[in-house]
Symmetry: C2
């Protein structure tokens, strides 16, 4: 079953990637040598670094890391950190990692500051397939010698903890089967908890959101909308939110209900504010470029009435702009 799931993933990945890889790719050793050349001399040649690494897929970047380490006896990741700076340093630091390890590293950083970084935890828990989330958790074990679950659990309390821990823990069923009667009864359960307000015990709502399959939750959300004339997300907007639990709940509901729409919204918010939120921008682009960024771009275009690359071009500058534009699929 896992092999089958992985196959579906890979198929989706190939179709949805936004990066471009040259028809004839240099050998990993040639790329490693070109990178070293870009590091040497007066100042780093950032454009050369981007020209290479933004146009290699995950498997190719892994081989380049290995070739670089063998040839120069230092980690490419370390050298990049010392050669680059600012947002480019952060973005490239994440980009060169193995995609699964990258998510583990980003999740770990978020567990240290869940109040602010909760969207990262929610995205990793809800936008990955169950098989992908499992791989992230396995990478987390290997790197940190702890579980993602225990680090998330230790960083929050109350409803907030119960929700986040359920989201990262559950190995959800990934099939399309839907139980209509269950969807109707659980839409009522959600409504009851929503009505009680976010300071009440949300055990039932968290149970539903935290354990049901994505297909089942889609059916439940539809029943809710049919019954109440509004979406679960909008129904969750009312009332005070002293612990920050309600915004996490909304984030999770939106990410589960429509992942592409959710990420399109994160990108719009990142570029709507006075001053671009580079961190959210680079997180979404770096984490999704090789996965589903094409669909997110389409959704962004539909909703923002401007192409993602145009929006990014307006909001970013310098080497960071070059890099991010390369990942979203338009060369400057």
């Amino acid at each position: 079953m896992r092999a089958h799931e992985n196959q579906i993933c890979r198929r989706r990945t190939r179709a949805m990637t936004t990066i471009t890889v040259p028809q004839v790719v240099p050998s990993p050793v040639e790329d490693a040598e070109a990178l070293m050349k870009a590091f040497q001399g007066w100042g780093t040649d950032e454009q050369a670094v981007i020209y290479i690494l933004a146009h290699r897929d995950a498997a190719q970047r892994k081989l380049i890391r290995q070739a670089y380490e063998e040839k120069y006896n230092e980690l490419l990741t370390d050298r990049l950190q010392s050669e680059l700076s600012g947002d480019l340093q952060t973005a490239m630091g994440y980009w060169v990692l193995d995609p699964t390890e990258r998510q583990a590293v980003i999740a770990n950083a978020a567990t240290k500051c869940i109040d602010e970084e909760y969207p990262v935890i929610v995205e990793i828990a809800c936008a990955n397939s169950p098989a992908e989330l499992l791989e992230v958790k396995q990478a987390y074990h290997a790197i940190y010698k702890r579980s993602l679950e225990e680090d998330v659990a230790a960083g929050a309390t109350g409803n907030l903890r119960n929700l986040l821990v359920a989201l990262v823990s559950t190995y959800r069923y990934d099939g399309d089967e839907v139980n209509g009667g269950l969807a109707r009864s659980e839409a009522k359960i959600i409504q009851a908890d929503v009505k009680n307000g976010v300071t009440a015990d949300h055990g039932e709502l968290i149970r539903v959101l935290g354990t049901r399959s994505r297909a089942q939750l889609g059916a439940t959300f539809n029943c809710f909308r049919d019954e109440h004339g509004t979406t679960v997300t909008k129904a969750l907007l009312h009332g005070s939110d002293p612990t920050g639990y309600a915004r996490v709940l909304r984030t999770a509901a939106r990410c589960i209900a429509d992942t592409d729409k959710y990420f399109a919204k994160v990108l719009r918010n990142a570029m709507h504010k006075s001053g671009t939120d580079e961190e959210s921008l680079l997180r979404v682009v770096v984490m999704h470029a090789e996965k589903d960024l094409r669909a997110i771009k389409d959704e962004f275009h539909r909703r923002a009435s401007v192409a993602l690359e145009q929006a990014i071009a307006k909001e970013t500058s310098g080497d960071f702009k070059t890099f991010i534009m390369a990942l979203v699929g338009t060369s400057q």
Copy 2:
């Protein structure tokens, strides 16, 4: 990493199995034919069925199931159900299943009656390695088109649900690393929740028990004993237990603290009562015969001052006795 974990599992399995397989094993087709012969004629030849199936390992039984189905165009599992009866029917029904599927089937039955069958859920969650539990959950998806998590969550409420769902959900870290400072501080957390009684919110205790690695919990339990002069399990004995949560908590703590000792105790209890508890007896024997029953037998012998096979011989009779005795490793 998974391959490595599986390797450790397999090593442990080979050393700990209590079943005996003949040096020269008939082909799966020959075994299937011998089974059909045992089914035909006046009444089933139960001894012949046991003689074959109790002395084949999981891989061999799988091949026999396949050969039987190909040759006779019916499921061996179905035929066994119609040919056998009573405890032998139940025990053999579980035994012929693939070990991982068997756990999924047993877990599913338990989710329908968690108040009574909670030990089954606890055992599957806590006595398996994280990799083994994951395999059970994957088998559960495949058979029931749902997750184990959602079925457990739907069958309980309050502290009881939070605990059981945490136990079945978390993909625990499986390494030996222990954080001593954390063990000391979390021993205090456990003590605080124990002191508050089982009707209080046990969020912290459930977080610790539900997410930390087995090694870390071992260290925490040791700190607790050093500090309070009693074990966590014994400290949990006091106070009323209106929801049945406390007994589940104790079961989980005992199963995590010392799995062999826990199962030895389940077997002693199964044979201590007026009238043997055949269901618990066959569950432990069938589920552990090919895994760790040798260690459980040793522990039983130490604590009961009688060998497990002697105790079972005294408490059982007929074909069921023959079968269970074959699985625990002594021929009659």
